[in-house]
């Protein structure tokens, strides 16, 4: 069924938090209760719109980007406000939507200073994150990607702990270095993908424009691996010469965000210093922007170059997995331990993606969602503990299970999910990733190393749980700790439910991401010249820019796939006039 609202749902999804932020701006700053309630209401409303979008999303539809909406934005750059969701972005939208209200609940009593600004930052951040995952226009993605930085920077820098300013600055600058280089690469792609007058930052224009050049290059490289590119078309030649650099620029930006070893060093600082809400959002959604960026942009746009760097990146991913695990074993600070476990878990995500196999990609996408759930839950729960004790070291705790049984039960379940115990969501993801990497062309030792690290993962998490929760209560202060209150249970319960549902009944969610996984693998393989993949399976089909400013209702079925990508209506190019002759001729001496 098609509804006239379909093309507008995503606008609601993206901008409802911003609207609420607009309302919030009018509340007096002392009304802390009202501010919190309004934000919570806004986040719940946002979640409802996300669920509405999910209900309108058809996993089986052959349309890649559904619920599409497109509006001319900056004509002369071919920039449009173009949003739509495919499977993986739908999953991330849901994840972001679910985390929204929980973040507010988690900070209900934790944040008591500058409450208004805090909630404004949360709402703006929510809009930026949802915008980034829904954007189909690359520059729109970039704008949201960067716009995320400012509220997050403030969250860490204003409401964080002692070293917050350094951590916030580090976070901002690391991301900025990567993203400005990506911007230059993006501009290069923009000029490569289409001739003057046809240019656009739209994902379809960029991908379709580079598709044939990539294919041509792949076949050429198969025939002569060390060729200098003689006889290639101009675009393929440019990809041969600059493709690796462009890919590396994209990869660096996203690798910093993931974060992959060795550019992960901002993450432990940011996590340790950030307030609970900041940690949850950072771990839950923002790190996914890195993996999502690889998935959506870096790999499909540069399939040949990503093949060339496959081994390097996969090796870095495995190094990250193992290094993260060992760092966890060495930590005494619980928040730092969870942060390093993120490095390790996201290594699995990257490994699965770089396997370029169906299982690996599915596992990788699933692992993105899992990590979002389980690591956020860990930060949330630890946040409750931290609020009571204001201590981050493991040695400050011990025997907490006796004092806070409900809390301990929650924490244990989340830990199981994090160490991928069968029956939890973590298991499904990690299993698929490892399966995919064994099946891929990656060397066996990488997969073996990654598998061994699973054991390490169990070791450090259980070691931490044992030190914190079991044994005797070693500190007098811990005896008086109160167990979770109703608000905290409400905040933690959804995580546990999600862990169970995603672990025991993964199929519905796997179905949602199925099509985008297939497309991802097909795109990676198509241009690498492996196997006969039909053009039409990889080509990005999107709606053209509407002639009038108002977008029409999205079609449920794709329009008959055109032989050539639909050119986007051209903006008017300025006509260069010949300069008029001056009235006077040059004086002759």
């Amino acid at each position: 069924m098609n509804s006239i609202y379909d093309s507008r749902i995503l606008n609601l999804v993206i901008f409802s938090p911003l609207l609420v932020a607009g309302l919030l701006a009018f509340l007096p700053r002392n009304e802390k209760g009202q501010i919190r309630a309004l934000t919570l209401g806004g986040m719940v409303l946002n979640l409802l719109t996300c669920l509405w979008a999910y209900s309108r999303f058809s996993p089986t539809s052959p349309v890649e980007f559904q619920l599409e909406y497109r509006l001319a934005w900056v004509d002369d750059l071919g920039l449009s406000y173009h949003v739509g969701v495919d499977g993986i972005s739908m999953g991330l939208v849901l994840l972001t939507g679910v985390l929204g209200p929980l973040v507010v609940l988690s900070s209900w009593t934790f944040v008591d200073e500058r409450v208004k600004e805090f909630h404004l930052a949360l709402l703006v951040l929510q809009t930026a994150m949802l915008g980034a995952v829904c954007a189909v226009d690359t520059l729109l993605f970039f704008v949201f990607f960067e716009a995320m930085l400012v509220p997050m920077y403030l969250l860490i820098g204003v409401w964080g702990s002692e070293e917050r300013q350094m951590a916030a600055m580090k976070f901002f600058l690391y991301t900025m270095v990567g993203s400005v280089l990506m911007l230059v690469a993006l501009l290069a792609v923009y000029f490569l993908a289409a001739p003057a007058g046809m240019r656009s930052f739209d994902y379809s224009t960029l991908y379709n424009g580079l598709m044939s050049a990539n294919r041509e290059l792949a076949q050429y490289l198969k025939a002569n691996p060390a060729g200098d590119g003689a006889g290639l078309s101009a675009a393929a030649l440019a990809l041969l010469r600059y493709g690796p650099y462009l890919f590396l620029a994209f990869a660096l930006a996203f690798a910093i965000k993931v974060p992959m070893f060795p550019v992960h060093t901002w993450l432990p600082d940011a996590h340790v210093q950030a307030p609970v809400a900041g940690s949850i959002v950072l771990a839950g959604v923002m790190l996914k922007m890195g993996t999502y960026g690889f998935w959506r942009f870096a790999i499909p746009l540069f399939p040949v170059a990503s093949r060339q760097f496959q081994l390097l990146l996969a090796a870095l991913a495995v190094v990250g997995i193992v290094y993260g695990a060992f760092m966890c074993l060495a930590q005494r600070d619980i928040k730092k331990l969870i942060a390093y476990s993120s490095v390790s878990h996201l290594g699995y995500c990257m490994l699965g993606m770089l396997a370029f196999t169906a299982e690996g990609a599915t596992g990788s996408a699933y692992q993105m969602l899992n990590h979002g759930v389980s690591t956020s839950a860990l930060f949330l729960l630890f946040g409750f503990l931290y609020e009571r004790r204001h201590a981050r070291l493991m040695s400050d705790y011990g025997g907490i299970a006796k004092v806070m049984p409900v809390f301990s039960a929650f924490f244990l379940i989340v830990t199981f999910s994090s160490v991928a115990v069968p029956g939890t969501n973590g298991f499904v993801g990690e299993f698929l990733v490892l399966l995919g990497s064994y099946k891929s062309n990656l060397p066996l030792w990488l997969s073996v190393a990654a598998t061994t690290a699973v054991v390490l993962g169990a070791a450090y998490m259980l070691w931490m749980v044992q030190k914190v929760f079991f044994g005797q209560v070693t500190h007098q202060e811990n005896l008086g700790l109160k167990d979770l209150g109703p608000r905290e249970v409400v905040a933690a319960l959804p995580f546990v439910l999600l862990i169970a549902v995603m672990g025991l009944k993964p199929q519905p969610l796997l179905d949602v991401i199925d099509h985008s996984t297939q497309r991802f693998v097909a795109r990676a393989k198509y241009a690498a010249g492996e196997g006969p993949v039909d053009d039409s399976k990889v080509r990005v089909v999107v709606r053209p820019l509407p002639k009038d400013a108002v977008a029409q209702v999205a079609p449920t079925l794709p329009p008959a796939v055109p032989a050539h990508p639909t050119p986007i209506p051209l903006p008017m190019r300025p006509v260069r006039l010949q300069p008029a002759q001056p009235q006077l001729q040059p004086a002759t001496p």
Binding site: L173, L237, L577, A580, P582, P586
Partner: protein, 519 residues
């Protein structure tokens, strides 16, 4: 000898400057006839005059490009849009000055008249197509600015800043003039059009003379644009001048100088080996982008920091200029270097239209951002601390977010825009300029530029850190309240965000700037 016959069409391009001059004369007369204690109306007259002149220029901007006044000036969208930007900056600067001068009991009609004269000079400079016209307009602009800089002459800093600005301004004008004299000798004319026509032959006969002229004119302009290594006057002058004047200098003077530079060199490069101007502009761009941002790093004085930032922004503008002069045939098209143009698709695309649009859009963004940023600084200045050395220290901004959330949010928007973070106008401006540079194949230079801009982001974020993450000192002064200042700051802040999110018709208008006379 034929007597020149002037028509209405000839006077059209200079009409905005005419409006500005009439407004300035009215202001001077108002000082004679209507001197009252309350002089805010003078700022209003100044603002309205600037807006009227801007409207006239905007009307002109849709005219086709042509020469006027016998080829001594040109009427083209590029210069007319630049005039619109200058008028916008002038209007905002007049508004900012009202509060600033009122607080110091120094409101005088001459001040606003000088601002308008200076704006008229900027407008005429951008459309000059002859060396003597260029020189005269440069001096109209400069002399008014010298006087404005030293306006609060009793303070030690303004006089010193005015003196330094005068010495280096006159020095650079002399360089330019001597270069013009040499080129006149080589080509027999001072009109750009004739100079351009005669240059190839002159270059063949007397290459030394032409190169010397080229270099001297370039150095003269580089001083005005404040490009490294001709930047040494900038920090002192920017720091010492009354803050609204600094704002006008950083936005308007730079804009006019960049436009005049482009116009002059469109003609002056004819006959020269294409690598020479390209490498010259690339080197200036690189040095300014890197130098400006790095020199800003250790500054704790926000006004001085913004002075260095303005040098860096001159560098970004020069990056666009370098793209404009990128040689059509690239040597060794594989090698990506700092001073090589290696177009991605092998052949050099025509980037002129996007460079002009980028320059204008960047200048628009920089105008509103710089006016806003300096305006905020001006509002935090106290009259009492004119002699103190820490007047503009970062500490001034500590805790501003709690004391004055609106001001802090506006300043944060200005800082992010200077750093080129979306969704502000600064980002879109950088996108246009760097886009043109990448299109022309200046990959190395573009990468150097964006990396330098990260250093800039650090500098700007430090202001945000102080505003949002440091507690306010006990004796922190509240910004003085004056409705004109608030109007100006609100207008700038709204423009910074609104133009960044929805540039609307502006980019389409600026697309017409592709019609540059002589290109």
């Amino acid at each position: 000898m034929n007597i020149p016959h002037l028509t209405f069409q000839d006077l059209l391009p200079v009409a905005p400057a005419g409006v500005l001059v009439v407004g300035a004369i009215v202001l001077l007369l108002s000082e004679v006839f209507l001197s009252t204690a309350q002089r805010t109306y003078q700022a209003v007259i100044g603002t309205l005059t600037a807006l009227l002149a801007g409207a006239v220029a905007m009307n002109n901007a849709f005219e086709p490009a042509r020469a006027a006044l016998q080829g001594y000036v040109v009427l083209d969208p590029f210069s007319q849009w630049m005039t619109v930007l200058v008028c916008l900056g002038t209007a905002l600067a007049s508004l900012l000055s009202a509060g600033f001068l009122n607080h110091r009991n120094a409101e005088r009609g001459e001040f606003y008249a000088l601002i308008l004269f200076s704006a008229a000079g900027m407008s005429l400079l951008a459309m000059s197509a002859e060396f003597i016209t260029l020189f005269i307009n440069l001096e109209v602009l400069s002399i008014s600015t010298y006087a404005l800089t030293a306006f609060l002459r009793r303070g030690p800093r303004p006089a010193e800043a005015g003196f330094k600005y005068f010495i280096l301004g006159a020095f650079s004008a002399s360089l330019l003039l001597y270069g013009a004299a040499l080129l006149y000798g080589a080509t027999g004319s001072t009109r750009f059009l004739d100079v351009g026509l005669a240059l190839p032959q002159a270059f063949a006969q007397q290459p030394g003379l032409v190169y010397a002229g080229f270099g001297l004119v370039l150095a003269g302009f580089a001083f005005k644009v404040a490009a490294v290594p001709f930047h040494m006057w900038t920090p002192d002058v920017y720091e010492g001048a009354p803050t609204p004047v600094t704002a006008l200098m950083s936005a308007g003077v730079k804009a006019a100088a960049v436009v005049a530079l482009v116009r002059t060199f469109l003609f002056l490069v004819k006959g020269l080996s294409p690598e020479v101007p390209f490498i010259a502009f690339s080197a200036l761009a690189l040095l300014s982008m890197v130098g400006g941002n790095l020199l800003a790093l250790p500054q704790r004085n926000v006004k001085r920091m913004l002075a260095y930032s303005s040098i860096a922004h001159a560098g970004y503008l020069l990056l666009g200029v370098a793209a404009l002069f990128a040689p059509a045939t690239a040597k060794g098209s594989d090698a990506v270097g700092l001073f090589t143009a290696t177009p991605l698709l092998g052949s050099m695309p025509n980037v002129a239209a996007s460079v002009y649009k980028g320059l204008l859009f960047y200048l628009l963004g920089y105008t509103v951002t710089a006016l806003g940023a300096f305006g905020t600084i001006a509002a935090l200045e106290r009259r009492e601390d004119e002699t103190r050395s820490n007047t503009w220290d970062l500490e001034r901004f500590a805790g501003l977010a709690q004391r004055k959330p609106g001001w802090a949010a506006a300043m944060a928007a200005f800082m992010l825009s200077l750093g080129g973070v979306p969704p502000t106008v600064g980002f879109l401006g950088k996108l246009y300029l760097f886009g043109a540079a990448v299109d022309a194949g200046l990959l190395g230079l573009a990468v150097a530029g964006v990396l330098a801009s990260v250093a800039g982001v650090y500098v700007y974020l430090r202001v945000v850190v102080y505003m949002y993450m440091r507690p306010a000192p006990a004796d922190a002064p509240a910004p003085f309240r004056h409705w004109t200042t608030e109007v100006a700051l609100i207008a700038s802040a709204v423009a910074v965000v609104a133009l960044g999110v929805l540039p609307g018709p502006v980019t389409e208008w600026f697309s017409r700037a592709g019609m540059v006379f002589g290109s």
